[in-house]
């Protein structure tokens, strides 16, 4: 990894904890050349090319794959219990996949901090899930599995529709809040010996509601209140500014080889990707003149949802596995 990319990597970790991404101080020479060439391009030609890109048919390939995966995983929980086929038993907080323990990293952390007594099954399940998401991209848990994410995506659609009609305005919030919540909920678990975050976690609540139905109906009202808040006030408030689960998986994602890769040369800087992104601070590299190298991996806070891959008119954003191109 070059020095410029190394610096950017650190910057992106800081951005995940809430720092605003800064203009890079160091840019690789070959990237500088591309930036320079782009400045020399004929403005009218560029505008025409952008128009042509925008006119192209849009597709939702990755979004559809992701929604299908998310629905199937959650459906597997439901049918495992309701039809008693016992493939994936439990809920998202903890489960058994054909007998193997799987335990959500944040739930495991809360229980470990609160209970201070860790049994072997808890450790095995936590380690399995940590390795799984290390391979699969960390926050890909959010966009590919978390059922609240899907509800929030639909709420976001309503929010954007209302915003286009100028009926609501997104009210952004300080992103450092999520890190603060993470620390506070961890401390609350440790000091009170009670996993209070688990009582309000929309991920856990939605998962239990779809699996166990009526047993979790009132808790679901809290989730609905959150969705209403996201529709009328703050776009994607929970996932962006509050959820400690996202941060926990984000930390795993730092070390994950699976990520989105940005190619500078082909990018026309339309900025379509940043409009659809849940975490646009990871895409600051696509702003004109910001890319530190000709290829830049997207940071750990990225949920690997693929919306930017779908929307990118030039194919400059692609799923990538670190080191795979070298191997092949």
């Amino acid at each position: 990894m070059s020095e410029a990319l190394r610096r950017r990597f650190k910057e992106q970790i800081k951005a995940m904890f809430g720092a605003e991404p800064q203009k890079p101080a160091l840019i690789e020479e070959r990237a500088q050349k591309v930036h320079e060439l782009k400045r020399l391009t004929n403005k009218a030609e560029l505008a025409a090319a952008k128009e042509a890109h925008r006119a192209r048919a849009k597709h939702h390939r990755w979004r559809n794959r992701r929604w299908l995966t998310l629905i199937l995983v959650n459906l597997l929980f439901v049918v495992s219990f309701q039809l008693d086929i016992q493939i994936l038993e439990g809920a998202l907080t903890a489960s058994r996949f054909i007998g193997f323990h799987l335990i959500d990293l944040n739930s495991a952390l809360q229980v470990m901090l609160a209970h201070k007594h860790i049994i072997t099954n808890l450790l095995i399940g936590t380690a399995t899930v940590a390795v799984l998401w290390l391979l699969l991209g960390g926050r890909s848990f959010c966009s590919w599995v978390c059922p609240y994410h899907l509800l929030a995506e639909w709420a976001e659609k309503i929010h954007l529709w209302l915003a286009a009609k100028k009926l609501v305005v997104d009210q952004p919030i300080d992103r450092r809040l999520r890190s603060a919540f993470w620390v506070v909920f961890a401390l609350l678990a440790l000091l009170t010996g009670y996993t209070v975050y688990e009582a309000i976690s929309p991920t856990g609540i939605v998962s239990r509601t779809i699996i166990y139905g009526a047993m979790s109906l009132w808790a679901f009202v809290w989730v609905l209140a959150l969705l209403v808040f996201e529709i009328f006030f703050v776009r994607r408030a929970w996932c962006r500014y509050a959820c400690p689960i996202g941060l926990t998986y984000g930390v795993i994602g730092i070390f994950s080889p699976l990520r989105i890769k940005y190619t500078l040369a082909t990018c026309f800087h339309e900025g379509e990707c940043r409009k659809v992104c849940l975490v646009p601070h990871v895409l600051d590299t696509v702003i004109k003149g910001r890319a530190v190298d000709i290829e830049v991996p997207i940071g750990p806070d990225c949920t690997r949802c693929g919306l930017c891959v779908d929307v990118c008119p030039t194919g400059s954003l692609k799923f990538d596995i670190k080191g795979l191109s070298k191997l092949m």
Binding site: A91, D170, F181, Y197, I200, A219, A242
Partner: protein, 292 residues
């Protein structure tokens, strides 16, 4: 709007950096102030919701029946990961998860004995086996609180597997204890028999009747009783020697009887579930210990 959610490209509006950068315009200062205000509002909202999660601790005095092998209330609330695997393995669906308004910890398991008691149809206390965090456990680790009167004198013998090589349940503490809380309404005490369905035709609860099917619990509503002197609680009790009917002869020579609970009682609540009087004459006292 899409434009609003792009990261600020103009000078960052964090106050800490204000000194190093040119002074912010009035509009930007206002924006920054509003953002700070919203941040505080969201913080307050989420902590308000989190506070409601603490309600079960405030209610902790109120006893509730937890599944077999459950740690003491505070330890249970700390260790339960709220996944419901205990719910899924229970063959009679005795275990429910508490909802927000139940005040017993969102997603933490409990048993409503009158509706569906644990009758150990699973033979091996499967809920404990299913628990991934040790919130339900066969053997409490050292240092975990043990309620007075909770330890059982010996491993309880499950009547259904009395003839098996291993007739006992791997259970060292009771989850409660049964008491005849309404002796005045008890049919046996009134010297009355019982004929018909213990809980009516619409009762969805299930029990395992070994003489009918050793491996499959059936609906109580499918099992009519006809006894000259009501002893349903004694008949239904899954634990050996936990309850007996002690006969007494009344002043006019009338045979009366009284269900008497003994030390092996584990507090499963089957007697409460089967009791045909409304409300139940015998009830399980959640979390209570044995008193001689």
């Amino acid at each position: 709007m899409s434009k609003d959610e792009l990261p600020q490209e103009a000078p960052s509006n964090e106050t800490s950096q204000a000194a190093a950068k040119p002074p912010l315009s009035k509009e930007r200062r206002l924006q920054a102030r509003r953002k700070l205000l919203r941040t505080f509002l969201l913080t307050g909202g989420i902590f308000g919701a989190a506070a409601s999660g603490f309600l079960p601790l405030a209610y902790a005095q109120k006893k509730r029946l937890r599944p077999p092998g459950a740690l003491d209330e505070k330890d249970l609330l700390a260790s339960c990961i709220k996944c419901g695997q205990c719910v899924q393995v229970c063959p009679v669906e005795a275990i429910k998860l508490a909802d927000l308004v139940d005040g017993m910890g969102v997603g933490v398991p409990y048993i409503e004995a009158r509706a569906q008691a644990c009758d150990f149809s699973c033979d091996a206390i499967q809920c404990i086996l299913a628990c991934p965090t040790g919130a339900l456990t066969y053997k409490k680790p050292a240092g975990m609180r043990i309620r007075p009167g909770a330890p059982l004198a010996s491993k309880p013998i499950l009547l259904a597997k009395e003839k098996d090589a291993e007739p006992t349940l791997n259970m060292s503490e009771r989850i409660g204890v049964a008491r005849l809380t309404r002796p005045e309404s008890c049919l046996a005490r009134k010297g009355q028999g019982f004929k018909g369905l213990a809980r009516g035709p619409d009762f969805p609860g299930k029990l395992r009747y070994v003489e009918i099917d050793r491996w499959r619990p059936i609906k109580v509503a499918e099992h009519p009783y006809d006894v000259p002197l009501c002893d349903l609680c004694v008949q239904a009790c899954p634990i050996k020697g936990a309850i007996t009917l002690e006969k007494v002869t009344g002043p006019e020579g009338q045979v009366r009887a009284l269900p008497v609970v003994h030390e092996p009682c584990v507090g499963c609540g089957v007697c409460e579930m089967i009791c045909p009087t409304e409300p139940a004459s015998i009830e399980v006292m959640p979390g209570e210990g044995w008193r001689a």
